[in-house]
Subunit: 420 residues, 2 copies
């Protein structure tokens, strides 16, 4: 029999205990041993968890319990969780976590500390979708060319509703908060930070890249408005918040941002709160993984899968997929300024003669070539210029946007959305 201690018996922790209880028949048949939860740790002892396990508010009760083989960390946060997990590993206990923030900052330290002890985190990326297993074990024969994913269900729900039901950004944000999909402070989701944490984890497995959130381009969906959705639809695109990792020579670009993507791509067909991640390998071509990216049960499904893996074989794969660095071909992070993309711009201008000519000239001066340009009336005295470009360089676009923002007939900083 294998004994589990759960630190953090909240949404996911409660589901983990329930699955280990409700699905014990199939779990013990697959794992070869019975797996039981011995105890859990919470902050507030007064809340009823509806579970038949011993609950305390002291992590020592789990960390110092010699009977416990596996510690499941589901308390969230970064530094406190890091301390707890280090102590668990120090005590020789296997660890399973769903904590993407912890991993976004400390995954390489944790790999070094864990050494031969199993440390698993399937639930940290895209909840119930077994993307870590797929990428780390299933696609291990490939050089990964790119990863492109819908990794945040809240943003995807909002974009889908704006597209299909013509809802405004503000209205759908409010509704998402009421439905519990978005927090009171929605920045972590709509600002792209949650997706960035997940992208960094995948980038380590695919490329061995040790980057932190501060190192990469992170933007959200907070600039997207109905005009942009309408433009996208007209030109055969969907707008999605994407996490993108792309290999280019010995450089890897990592970025999270709203993006226009052709409606023909499988990723563009993923709607509502669902997540989906497309991975292109040099040998396998494109593969795609789809499912629920959040929710107690779906996330706990991945946590329990990791527990079963550990029951079956202890540690079977290097934590971040690499047993040693790639000889002579270690990859490095591409500087954000050098990223290339097509771009879409929305520029709100006063409706005067000469404006178009002036804007066009500035594009030329920055080496940015226009693919399509539409002018749409905004108010009686202003218009939106909706422009898509050919491939251009991030630094050129940014300096052009700065210049355009300063023009006397431009009413607000231009909104830019990348096209993939």
């Amino acid at each position: 029999m294998l004994k589990v201690g759960i630190i953090g018996v909240g949404t996911v922790g409660t589901s983990v205990a329930e699955i280990l209880r409700d699905n014990a028949d199939v779990i013990s048949a697959r794992a070869g041993v019975d797996i039981v939860v011995k105890s859990g740790v919470v902050k507030n002892l007064n809340k009823d968890r509806g579970l038949d396990i011993s609950i305390t508010d002291n992590v020592d009760d789990i960390l110092n319990d010699d009977e416990i083989d596996i510690v499941v960390e589901l308390m969230g946060g970064v530094e406190e969780a890091f301390e707890v997990v280090k102590r668990a590993l120090g005590a020789g206990k296997a660890v399973v976590t769903a904590n993407k923030a912890l991993l976004a900052y400390h995954r390489y330290e944790l790999q070094d500390i864990a050494k031969d002890i199993a440390f698993e985190y399937e639930a940290a990326v895209a909840g119930g979708i077994p993307i870590i297993t797929a990428l780390r074990d299933g696609l291990s024969a490939n050089h990964i060319e790119s990863i492109m994913g819908i990794m945040n269900g809240t943003c995807n729900y909002m974009m889908t509703e704006m597209t299909n039901n013509g809802v405004s950004y503000d209205a759908i944000l409010k509704e998402s908060q009421e439905l519990g999909y978005a927090e009171a402070d929605p920045t972590f989701d709509v600002g792209g930070f949650d997706a960035a944490h997940k992208l960094l984890i995948l980038a380590s497995i695919a490329y061995g890249i040790d980057a932190k959130p501060e190192d990469i381009l992170i933007e959200g969906i907070d600039n997207v408005r109905s005009e942009d959705i309408a433009f996208a639809k007209e030109f055969g695109y969907a707008i999605k918040l994407l996490g993108i990792a792309k290999k280019d020579g010995n450089e890897v670009e990592l970025r999270v941002h709203a993006a226009l993507i052709s409606q023909d791509e499988m990723i563009a067909k993923i709607d509502g709160v669902m997540n989906g991640i497309s991975v292109v390998g040099d040998k396998v071509g494109e593969t795609l993984y789809y499912g629920a990216g959040a929710g107690g049960d779906a996330t706990a499904s991945a946590v329990v899968a990791n527990i079963i893996d550990i029951a079956r074989s202890g540690k079977s794969t290097p934590m971040l997929g690499f047993d040693k660095p790639m000889e002579g071909s270690q990859l490095v992070l591409k500087p954000t300024a050098n990223i290339e993309s097509k771009y879409y711009l929305r520029i709100n201008v006063s409706d005067k003669t000469g404006v178009l000519a002036r804007i066009t000239k500035i594009f030329e001066e920055h080496n940015i070539s226009v693919e399509t340009m539409l002018q749409r009336k905004s108010t009686d005295t202003s218009a939106n210029l909706l422009i898509s470009t050919h491939i251009a360089k991030e630094s050129d676009i940014q300096s052009m946007i700065d210049e355009i923002e300063g023009l006397e007939f431009v009413n607000a900083r231009p909104v830019m959305i990348r096209i993939v």
Copy 2:
């Protein structure tokens, strides 16, 4: 260093050797050891394989070579491959195969023989998509409620072309043969047998069900005609060849057939030669896996992933996912006659009065309730009745079709396609 012998250096075997050579940098970093192909076996020694490995035409050269750690079986066929693989396991060598026919017939014997020796087969289902890993390891916490998949790229290509480009069945079959997607004798693909082999493998992992092709319902796409495609489009369906496994109480139904499926389902959006498999777990909900189901490189990507797994950890998971049977809840195969579904029927009738009334009455007598009925002119003197039903029982539908076929005004055996 780990040494591999490849038995069968054809389409997939050649790609395996190429990947181990071309991607050696990333493979050795991920596996922790170098992996090299020592030798290969073929039938025809005169064909140049373009590989720098020793090639023989005698399997003993690999099976009796003590230096070889892993035997990769890529010769195809059932009984001869079974003998070869048994000998390899008997010699203590790990085995990797892509041979779905072998597994459709002998997977449980192989599991018994392999015991603690690794026997892996990721490539046997859906080529490059890591569906075995996902189902066996990633979803192991779930009772699997259903599996529904596009597991044959040839059939999916044909259905897609008929739907999008209005091509006839005969024309697209001919084109598929010219493109090399379909064999001169296409029965194995269009008759559903290839998909059935894959479905049986997945059913073992999901449910522990030991069924053979002879035990389950297998039909193909060879009855599907442009009229059916037109009906499907009109009512919001796509037509796909699906492999379906579904749990119902302690019974599991297994079936392969063409099916009408709502265009809103993710599976319905998978077009062309691509494969996709949707798996519903009781905790994770729906997940879906998409990618190339065939082709040398994509298939070899999965073979090499298995080799890397073995290099990392020997055997880490029970071959068919279960370490022991499920206590008190072993599942059994549902008899085909008891399967329930909605159905679509195309009945070609002579255009006479009284026909509709007569047909309607026969439906009633067989307890089959009609959902929609269309009549479409076929020739000057005949018409097609296109009928969809509510949920009915397979045995009722079959006996009704037998009765209708015998009617004097019915010109051919009615064509039936299930609706999922």
